[in-house]
Point group: C2
Chain length 259, copies 2
């Protein structure tokens, strides 16, 4: 398969090399298009008020492709429109250092890069490791190979992105795979206030995921039980169930500017 690899941790990130090194021995045709610097929490941001600088890049063990001064979504858009001659068979984004579970999926650049594949009708997955520190990459390569084999033979449902979260454990300590929902959750922000030496406040954004719905069957629960979490995601965000409650507004008249 022709596989496009990207991420949000940047083209030098070890998780990207993990993807490459796992898939290259299987004879897949791999190309990397990734941000030249870290773009964590970039979400689906795209760069429209500045141009995108692109440079050829060579990493270790034959990893090659392009570094882009832009966001993860920029990278995949540019890859699909310009840099790759023909569309890839698969887009993989990751392996992110840190989980992308619950509401994190809407802030994640890792998920957004894969979403660009999904929106362009290419099977796509985002892979994240449940560790900010002391990552144990050992399991990620083997699980990536297994998932790629599955997608090669079974495909993915149309319009669906596979969001994968891997426990930070050696393979023999992982209990299996669980198909999950993204946990209903929100971030509880913690802002650290500091003062500049010459005066003026600034704030560091920090926060914690708070589960607001049930935990059973979610990505957060799967990781807590040492399972690999597989969540199907889609990007049609209309709240269909809420449409009827707004219909009354259709009887309202447009007010004049001075009413």
């Amino acid at each position: 398969m022709r596989i496009l690899l990207s991420n949000d941790d940047g083209i030098f990130a070890p998780g990207l090399q993990v993807l490459h090194d796992a898939l290259q021995p299987l004879g897949h045709d791999l190309i990397v298009v990734a941000p030249e610097s870290e773009q964590s929490a970039a979400s689906h941001a795209i760069t429209i008020s500045e141009p995108l600088r692109v440079r050829p890049y060579q990493g270790n063990h034959g990893l090659s492709g392009y570094a882009v001064r832009g966001t993860p979504a920029d990278c995949v858009k540019l890859a699909l429109s310009v840099l790759l001659g023909k569309p890839p068979d698969l887009v993989i984004s990751g392996v992110n250092q840190g989980p992308n579970t619950g509401i994190s999926v809407i802030y994640s650049g890792t998920v957004a890069a894969a979403a660009e594949g999904t929106l362009n009708r290419i099977p796509s997955m985002a892979i994240s490791l449940d560790a900010f520190d002391n990552p144990c990459w050992e399991s990620c390569g083997a699980i990536t190979r297994k998932l790629v084999d599955y997608i090669e033979h079974q495909g993915l449902p149309h319009g669906v992105l596979l969001n994968v979260n891997i426990p930070n454990l050696a393979p023999e300590k992982i209990n299996g795979f669980a198909v999950t929902t993204a946990a209903r959750s929100r971030f509880i922000e913690i802002f650290h206030k500091r003062t500049r030496p010459r005066g003026g406040a600034y704030y560091w954004l920090d926060g914690e995921l708070q589960i607001t719905g049930k935990q059973a069957g979610t990505d957060v629960e799967a990781l807590s039980r040492d399972y690999v979490s597989l969540s199907p995601l889609q990007f049609d965000i209309t709240a269909l169930a809420a449409m009827d409650s707004l219909r009354g507004f259709q009887d309202e008249v447009i007010p004049g500017p001075d009413r």
Copy 2:
């Protein structure tokens, strides 16, 4: 009502002043927390590798609040956690110069700012004007007042953001309000390649929305028929219908690192 105003066009944008000037005469308690510079297409990006600089800001006609060196989502998070003493009754983001319809809703900083309100259980709406150039702001104020009055008395369904798109027409030329879905669509990218004077390629991202589903009942159709589009949006993106098709994977075993 206590109303938090934000946007993605930046604190100097005319659309923000339009919101303020429309609502201030009604006696609402208004506070602005907006990006100090334009953040169009910032999506739900949040700033985690740099701190957020915050400065008090005074605009025209009594508009006051804070300018933040960050994204729209940063602004609303900071407002809700730190800058506002108590939570607002309503968050309004806009008025954006340019529509936010179809798949644009996932790239929009305007929608993301309102989404931070929704995710924090505060009624929230995003308002956009269907014009990049020659904006006719005349209708926006009157329609905003009408929507605020509706939300004050009827509220919004839990977890639902109201995404409003206004035709760029005088009030008497607008046909009414339509409750719509976000059109299934994608961007067809057009990258403009240029070369730096000292060599090296760069690209400008441009593109057009392509409708991929039916047009009837969508936000795009409503604008084309000179109606104000009201779309309810939600942020739980699990593809529930696709879960069964992946269940077979739960029978797979975790491969060892060398398998």
